[in-house]
Amino acid sequence: MKVHEYQARQLLHDAGIPVPPGSMVETAEEATREAERIFGGGAGLAVVKAQVHAGGRGKAGFVKLVKNANAATEAATFMLSNRMKSPQTPPEGLEVKRLLVAEAVDIAKEFYVAMLVDRARRTNTLIASAEGGVEIEKTAEERPEAIFTMPAHPTLGLQPWQAREVAFRLGFVGKTVGQAVDLMLRLDRLFRASDASLAEINPLVLTPPCDGHPDGRVMAVDAKFSFDDNALFRQKAIADLFDPAEENPLELKAREFGLSYIALDGNIGCLVNGAGLAMATMDIIKLHGGDPANFLDVGGSASEAAVTEAFRIILADPKVKGVLVNIFGGIMQCDVIARAIVSAAKTVGFTVPLTIRLEGTNVAEARRILEAAQSEIPTMQPAGDLGDAARRICAAVAGR
């Protein structure tokens, strides 16, 4: 689960990590007031940022530096009344409902710091670079030597000596070393306590010397967090940050029924049990010249009602010109799928070709059910094996 920048900022602030003053606003008037507050505090520059999960905000004009409250009002009005379009958004763009208005602090130097789950090392790892403010993927590709990694102990977490080593390697000096170390240790604690899977601060900035900070201040200017969906049962505060507006409505609907659904661009709907088999089914469709319309894993123990809903979700996609059902029953019992197909035929209706491949637990009963219903579902054709199923559905869809 991803959260918005303003939410990530709040999490950092609550964990004792310095962030520039600012807050989330939902109207141009609120943006004006927040900007006035920031400029009233002596700031020379503020920033207005659209709060959407997609990247490419800056180029799209949805991150604006402003020198006074009027300019903030103008930027806010623009962002709240236009859809943001970038290579990372759908073609029609995204509606912007929330903005972050914050002080744009003076920057002496920018860094990158992140904690992430490091599956190869089987622990959490701190990643850092003295080249902040740019995409870390770009740095990793062009100058891998500029990135430092520090695996944290799997049970003890990041140790102070590790944070010190990273701080020195990043080039911090004087009193800023202690600030950077403190920030990294707090980030690691927040990461583990909140069951995060990624906690990225980019840029982490060092300000020029200022009052009370002769060596400058270390602050988190932008942050990106994502959390382990499997841990949300014990992370109520994090789960509450979920913004359904950022999700595909069909994917959300699927989740309610315990289904794992991802919309794709093709025209062959897939209903499969198991994530690996679902991916393999997409692959084999492509291999036979077809194009999958979705990934859909009904999971191990879906009820007849959930599987019927799965058909409803697949057929709600107007691009779908055919459906392939591929079930290898283990926990999932094939007769449950067969009953759901019959039920979906009654309540949703199959006007498109439907190819069905069933094997595994209770397959004989499932075949009896489908044979009995064949006359009611004329577009249905059984397939012998996986290759046969893919050939049949691709041929049926290509002919339409």
């Binding site: 789950v117 622990t123 198991g274 991916m279 084999i284 290898f328 397959v363």
Partner: protein
């Protein structure tokens, strides 16, 4: 011979009174596994619907039954604890079927398991492990078996013991995916190729036993003639395995990598199946495996045929 488990393995189920635990305990018993009891804290002293004794703790179950393997259906909040309890009680093979265990729990659990070098964890989020038994009677879903051991949720009847296979040969199967493993088993059985042991290692980013350890065990097992290795997008485990295969493999390795058509950045059902960097992609893994000398199938429907070819088993 087989790896990890065989007909003499004594198995308990942690979470035996839950619906999944009860259902699959019955399924394992029906297959012929030596199920000797179960654990549900607070229900010790009772029996389950199969007449198996229920214990409050794994240690009690081990001392009363001599259990050396466990099948865990404990829900996610308690799954990591159940794994560690089994390890502490001296259980040798832990198959954690539970889906949805938090990754931070698995990081800590994986580290704590270093104190138990004799214990092998399979999973979590996996179908479990099976060493097929000999077919006694019947065919298809009605077949009965003896002498095998099924610890998990896979349909037992699709598996074939080497001695029952018309080719007289057997593959060992290791896979990150449950149902795709069944697919591979079924295709092999259909072509008269048996299976020595099939291990679903699970779809999570941090898990127990992995490809390389299983490639090693299958190589040491005289009744495994070839290895079917099924991977998917996400992580670098398949590329690491490819390196091992290039340096050590003497038996044929047949592989399929799922997720070639998966878009980057989208989590494909499994928590571990998400493309991050270039090394996570199916293409990178396929290239590494081919470079190492493995046979990588373009289509998941070709696994059985590829195994038959690698073993020089005449096609049907």
């Amino acid at each position: 011979m087989s790896i990890l488990i065989d007909g003499s393995t004594r198995v308990i189920c942690q979470g035996i009174t839950g619906s999944a635990g009860a259902f699959h305990t019955a399924g394992c018993l029906a297959y012929g596994s030596r199920m000797v009891g179960g654990v549900t804290p607070g229900k010790g002293g009772k029996s389950d619907s199969n007449g198996l004794p229920i214990f409050d703790t794994v240690a009690q179950a081990v001392s009363a039954t001599g259990a050396d393997a466990t099948m865990i259906f404990v829900p996610p909040p308690g799954a990591a604890d159940a794994i560690l309890e089994a390890a502490a009680a001296g259980i040798r093979v832990i198959a954690a079927i539970t889906e949805g265990v938090p990754v931070q729990d698995m990081i800590r659990t994986k580290a704590a398991l270093r104190d138990f070098p004799e214990t092998t964890l399979i999973g979590p989020n996996c179908p479990g492990v099976i060493t097929p038994g000999r077919r006694v009677s019947g065919t298809g879903p009605d077949a009965t078996f003896e002498g095998g051991c099924k610890i998990g949720i896979m349909p037992g009847y699709i598996h074939t013991h080497r001695a029952d296979a018309s080719s007289g040969r057997a593959v060992g199967i290791v896979s990150r995916s449950g149902t795709l493993t069944y697919e591979a088993v079924w295709q092999c059985s259909e072509r008269g190729i048996g299976q020595s042991t099939c291990v679903g290692i699970g779809g999570d980013p941090i898990k127990g036993i992995n490809f390389i350890e299983l490639l090693e065990r299958f190589h040491a097992d005289p009744e495994t003639d070839a290895i079917v290795m099924i991977g998917e997008i996400g992580g670098s485990d398949e590329s690491d395995a490819a390196r091992w295969i290039g340096e050590h493999a003497t038996k044929p390795v047949i592989s399929f990598i799922a997720g070639r058509t998966a878009p980057p950045g989208k989590r494909m059902g499994h928590a571990g199946a998400i493309i991050g960097g270039a090394a996570d992609t199916a293409e990178a893994k396929i290239a590494a495996l081919r470079e190492a000398g493995a046979v990588v199938c373009e289509s998941p429907a070709d696994l059985g045929a590829a195994a038959a070819e690698a073993l020089a088993v005449a096609s049907r």
